[in-house]
Symmetry: C2
Subunit: 84 residues, 2 copies
């Protein structure tokens, strides 16, 4: 069994209005040292062992369903979990 952590972020060149709104809120709460906020998604997938390679499965599902590769980048970590 694998635990896969997927981090999805907007590409640098894409505006992030949600992040800007959060930054303004923080600034108005007196946290003026916060100069930028970018908001992304974080997903944890549990993948059982199969005859497909786990890296291939993760890349396929990210590109088909989880990530809009036109405006988003992603990276992931795979961790193997040994059943106790």
């Amino acid at each position: 069994m694998y635990k896969v952590k997927v981090y999805v972020t907007l590409r640098e060149s894409v505006l992030d209005p949600q992040g800007t709104a959060v930054q303004h809120s923080l600034n108005s709460l007196s946290y003026t040292e916060i100069s930028d906020v970018r908001i992304g998604k974080y997903m944890e997938l549990t993948i059982e062992k199969s005859d497909r390679n786990v890296n291939e499965v993760v890349k396929e599902v990210c590109e088909k369903l989880l990530v809009n590769t036109v405006i988003e980048d992603y990276r992931y970590d795979v961790e193997e979990v040994v059943a106790q």
Copy 2:
């Protein structure tokens, strides 16, 4: 300047209907080895140096604005960026 990465996840005991919906979609796209999906948030904050400690600032903003601590957990990494 610090780059802070904040990961927000639903607590284990809290149902995640969005994750369940994604899992069913993936299973119906023939990725049947995916047995669980949990969806969280990922935020990147840029924080300028100030007289407040960066860890205190991050904890305060997480608990005041970014995280609903009743149903969510968070963790964060702080990375110092040296201007070139």
